[in-house]
Amino acid sequence: MKRKGLWLVLAALLLALSAWLMSRGDKEKSTARPPKVDFPRHENPEESTRNSKRRTLAPLPMPSADSEGYRSKRDPMLVALPADPKRSAMVFELEALKESPIMQVWLDCLLARDSREKLDLARFKDRFGIDPLEDVERIAVSSERLLLMQGSFTNARFDGDVWKRRTYGEKGVIYENQDTGRVVATWGPDMMIASGTSDSSEPVEDAIDRLESTDPAQTTILPDGSAYGDVYGVLSPEDLSRMLGPDQEALAEKIRSIVQRVDIHMDAADDVAMVADVAGPAGDDLNDLSKSFGAALAVGRLKAQSDGDDKLAELLDYAKVKPRDGQFSVDVALPFEVIKDLGPCRKSPRSQDGDDDPPPPPSR
């Protein structure tokens, strides 16, 4: 009888033991979820609301009196950018970027490196009445030597002794520095335009002309629907090929000869996620180029793995090329830890040799 009950007792004990062992995974799952990366592919509801508020420029007239259709208001900053498709234009949403970890670290580095930058920012505010960190909402840069800023510039002031003032168009006021040749303009209370070329007010005047143009055929380099992400814009094939290293001349040549346009959208809310839409004539050449991009990303991931850079390798898991008719998109995510040491936080060769004390590591 005693032996007969032994199996029953053993069954009860084993059942209790199994329940305890299995319950260990109820709260703590056996697998760790990889980081979630959100690639910017379309505007989110907040960006949609923001963009619609920014469309303050009157719609263009219809091409002819008997034309039917609907034309909506336009975003002045996108209109002011040069529309030449062979040029690049990038927009940086400073308001959003200020909140991003990478920008906070870069700003910390910028201000901690030495006091010069801090002084420059303070001096700029004293001199022009503008705080670049508070008053500027977004900045657009065009490779056609033009810089646009949108924000609150009601307090902007230009010393009349140095800056020669003249009006241009309906709302434009151009200031030319007599000493340095710099040309800056304001257009209304919230737009500032700076020429990237000294002694030339032409880029600024052209921008104001575009803003005040009523030509029905006017186009923009960035359509309204493309204003999403923390950084967005268009890269010309020339500029993109220049970004590649000298060892990738073959790929650079392919880009120059095949690619027509590259739309970029970046999100820096946590790690940096980028989507690049590459457009060109449909065919084998573009197909081969997409494979070259895919292979380059795969090689980069393998290199990160062999270098022991687990975080980079993990994020490059998300890297992919999506071919479509006449275009393909490239998704790449870069970890915060990798890019935080770039830009303003890049150590100088001296400090890397240990000759110079590096700035204190910024807190995230």
Partner: protein, 278 residues
């Protein structure tokens, strides 16, 4: 103990002669051969650049080939896990009742073999059978993709073995049911119920919020506390196949827990078996 392995070996021989397992073997082999001929993968510098199935281009992203294969292996792991469990429950439900068939059981008990050795041998035989099936299916699948892409990994096979362990846990209860009532249908029903409840138990921490705090939630917690976490192990199996990082201590605890559950059910079965007169 030798008698236990002899019983297990007999079970494997019996399985080999059954149409169910013959069909499974032919099915897996056919699927692998067809896939081998129909699937074309173009790999460029470590990136999966194009996929063609039955001559048609499958629209897919260009990405690192091992990353692309993760999705394939994950899907295959789920199919192997749940498909294997379902097949095993149906195909193995008859082993217990046929062991206890009148005439056969008396003959077996007249041999120098203990009753617990008979049940343990049957249990281990089924465990071995499920492992052989898992290794053949997952191994063939992995080998096929390894030859086509150059990515060699044992992870899908490890994932399939996890399914075998899960099935062993369920089969322990099925065998005990067969001892209590010599019925293949009841044995299969117990397997199906445990399979279904095990899926629920795997998500018990999330599902308990559907019950109001109080006796209902307590009862749900108590019932699912002792059940095998089938879905949790299926997820872990897929994660292993897809090269996701796995917390080995937690997984090992769940796996051992499930095997112990199988042995607990088996101990109950042995207890019932010892009570019976043949």
């Amino acid at each position: 103990m030798r008698a236990t392995f002899t019983v297990a070996g007999d079970l494997l021989r019996e399985a080999a002669s059954r149409r169910w397992f013959l069909a499974l073997g032919i099915g897996i082999t056919t699927a692998l051969v067809v896939l081998g001929f129909a699937l074309r993968l173009e790999v460029v510098d470590g990136a999966l650049a194009a996929t063609r199935l039955f001559g048609k281009t499958v629209r897919s992203d260009i990405r690192s080939v091992d990353v692309a294969l993760r999705f394939v292996y994950r899907a295959a792991a789920y199919v192997l896990f749940y498909g294997g469990l379902a097949f095993g429950i149906v195909a193995c439900a008859d082993f217990g009742p046929s062991l206890l068939a009148p005439g056969r059981i008396e003959h077996l008990l007249s041999l120098p073999v203990r009753r617990y050795e008979l049940l343990l041998g049957t249990f281990l035989g089924v465990l071995a059978l499920s492992m052989i099936g898992a290794i053949y299916g997952a191994g063939g699948f992995t080998l096929l993709f390894a030859v086509k892409t150059g990515v060699w990994t044992l992870r899908p096979i490890a994932a399939a073995l996890l399914a075998s362990v899960t099935f062993a846990g369920i089969y322990g209860a099925m065998l005990t049911a067969a001892v209590a009532v010599r019925s293949a249908a009841l044995s299969a029903a117990v397997g199906v119920v445990l399979f279904g409840l095990g899926i629920v138990a795997g998500y018990r921490d999330r599902l308990d919020t559907f019950f109001e705090a109080g006796p209902a939630r307590e009862a749900f917690g108590a019932v699912t506390f002792v059940l095998p976490r089938v879905s949790a192990l299926a997820d872990a199996s897929a994660d292993i196949a897809a090269s996701a990082s796995v917390k080995l201590n937690v997984l090992a605890s769940q796996m051992v827990g499930l095997l112990v559950f199988g042995f607990a059910a088996l101990a109950l079965g042995i207890h019932l078996f010892e009570q019976k007169d043949f």
